[in-house]
């Protein structure tokens, strides 16, 4: 079953068109990567799904058209977005950031269980639980961003460059946790990464964007085998 289906997506910032036809689909419980150079339109694609940029083309989630919906309405359908740059709520504590993530949920007791579970997964956050999030390191803020999205208990998680600016070992910690959350909850993922090696530790299939167009897609194994992908994204 297809969870998310994007067809011929276009998008503009003012008069400048940056997406010229992006197509991809995410199956239920699947994990799909978006690869591409800087400026290819990866972030814009995720923002289009979340309703943060106006678009042409089609975005269907569980059969419903997402276009024209506001970000909070998209979130209410079960899509959580870990934005590029982490989107930390810096004046709020770690605890409050996680509570904001759970804003749409009514099951209070389960919320606390989920917070406890996250803190086991990210012991760093446990130590900083009542500090302002602005005091966290980059890696901790990224863990918090993933945690905030997880707290919504989404059906689909949009992840935008979760490794950006992190030391390799920290990036690995974050991705290990993402993998655990995926195994435990079966949440589907659409994952943007510059670091294709990291992306391939999670995704089943991936799409390559070039200047706002999908130019190639395939399974992780297929893509890893292709010379142009190895050269461009896997460091040879």
């Amino acid at each position: 079953m297809t969870l998310l289906e994007i067809t011929d997506l276009t998008a503009h910032y003012g008069p400048v068109q940056v997406l010229h036809g992006v197509s991809l689909s995410v199956p239920e419980r699947g994990a799909v990567g978006i690869l591409g150079a800087n400026g290819a339109g990866k972030t814009t694609t995720l923002r289009a799904i979340s309703g943060a940029v106006r678009t042409g083309g089609q975005i269907r989630f569980e059969g419903q058209d997402l276009r024209g919906r506001k970000p909070n309405e998209v979130a209410a359908l079960g899509i959580a977005h870990v934005p590029e740059g982490r989107g930390t709520l810096g004046n709020l504590t770690v605890k409050e950031n996680l509570q904001v993530g759970a804003y749409l949920r009514k099951d209070r007791r389960r919320i606390q269980q989920d917070i406890d579970h996250l803190l086991e997964l990210f012991p760093n956050l446990q130590e900083r639980y009542t500090s302002n999030a602005s005091a966290l390191s980059g890696g901790e803020q990224q863990m918090l961003a993933v945690g905030r999205a997880y707290m919504a208990r989404p059906k689909l998680l949009l992840l935008d460059e979760a490794s950006l600016g992190l030391a390799p070992s920290t990036a690995k910690t974050v991705y290990d946790a993402i993998r655990v959350l995926r195994e435990e909850t079966g949440v589907a993922m659409l994952l943007v990464e510059q670091n294709a090696n990291l992306a391939f530790t999670i995704v089943d299939t991936a799409t390559v964007l070039e200047t706002g167009r999908s130019v190639l897609s395939g399974t992780s194994a297929e893509l890893k085998g292709r010379d142009e992908i190895r050269k461009a994204y896997l460091g040879g």
């Binding site: 979340s50 943060a52 506001k70 970000p71 909070n72 979130a75 209410a76 959580a80 977005h81 934005p83 989107g87 930390t88 709520l89 810096g90 004046n91 709020l92 409050e96 509570q99 904001v100 993530g101 804003y103 749409l104 905030r148 999205a149 919504a152």
Partner: protein, 293 residues
């Protein structure tokens, strides 16, 4: 000693009024990044509404509460239909819009209720009680208590409720808030509504002392802005403390510093501002962010 205590309590009362307007300005600034120069003008309109409800024969407290509720709605509508169009625009555009709104509101009040002084009754008796040999007016003491009480309630709202958390989240990072499912537009309206309601309380409490005119809060706005800068725009508590400080110091200086007197006391917050900003550009309690007014 008696005079001193009296001056301090009177100063705290006026300082509370400055503090309420200042807090309203902070509320709006933290959620939208704007400085609302019309905050005082909106509070004056609220006081006129209370005055009108009073004229319909309603008891004073009911008239004030109705005006507070109406002000909440007016504030929310101003956000939705006026300010939202200018969000994210250049700061000077926003300044022009809110100053324009101030002028418009003053004009509307003058047109509907005239520019004459109107007598507005006080919630508190005009008598005084004695404390440590000082005669303290119930009005000053009541004004101080009422606004201090409201500030505690606001603090509880922001720290202890889901709505308060949502308002702070929107103020902090609008995009993350919306990605988490928070209805950002509606929360911005609530923020403006709360600010307007707070201003309405301040307006109703100070109107008996200043007597009601369309320009009643023009000076108060200046003091409130001084408190905002002095306290640091990121610190609601700091802003209120700064407002109290200004209220008390201006009262004391007017009496104890002969060259200042009542005519020059408006200079007090600015001397204070000047000194503090030289030493601590981020304000007494604020964090280091750039504040442009």
């Amino acid at each position: 000693m008696g005079t001193f205590i009296q001056l301090v309590v009177d100063g705290l009362a006026m300082g509370s009024v400055y503090g309420a307007i200042a807090l309203a300005i902070v509320l709006v600034n933290q959620s939208t990044g704007m400085i609302n120069f019309a905050q005082g003008g909106m509070a004056v309109l609220s006081a006129y509404l209370a005055f009108t409800f009073l004229g319909l024969g309603l008891p004073l407290i009911v008239a004030i509460l109705l005006s507070v509720a109406a002000s909440f709605i007016i504030g929310a509508l101003i956000e939705r239909f006026l300010m939202r169009r200018f969000m994210g625009r250049a700061e000077d555009t926003q300044v022009v819009v809110t100053v324009g709104l101030l002028t418009l509101l003053t004009g509307i009040c003058g047109w509907l209720w005239s520019y004459n002084n109107l007598q507005f009754p006080s919630l508190f008796p005009s008598s005084a009680f004695t404390f440590l040999g000082a005669a303290i007016s119930w009005r000053s003491f009541g004004t101080f208590l009422a606004i201090a009480g409201i500030m505690v309630l606001l603090q509880l709202l922001f720290r202890q409720t889901k709505l308060g958390l949502a308002l702070r989240a929107v103020a902090d990072n609008r995009q993350s808030a919306s990605f988490a499912g928070l209805p950002v537009g509606r929360l911005l309206m609530v923020g403006w509504g709360l600010a307007a309601a707070l201003g309405a309380v301040a307006g109703a409490l100070v109107a008996p002392r200043l007597s009601l005119t369309p320009g009643m809060l023009d000076t108060t706005l200046v003091y409130a802005l001084a408190a905002v800068i002095l306290g640091g725009i990121t610190s609601p508590v700091g802003v209120v403390v700064a407002a109290w400080l200004i209220g008390v110091l201006e009262n004391l200086a007017a009496v104890y510093v002969p060259i200042i007197g009542h005519d020059l006391k408006i200079a007090v917050p600015f001397i204070l501002l000047f000194v503090v900003l030289l030493l601590r550009p981020q304000g007494l309690f604020g964090r280091k962010t750039v504040v442009r007014v």
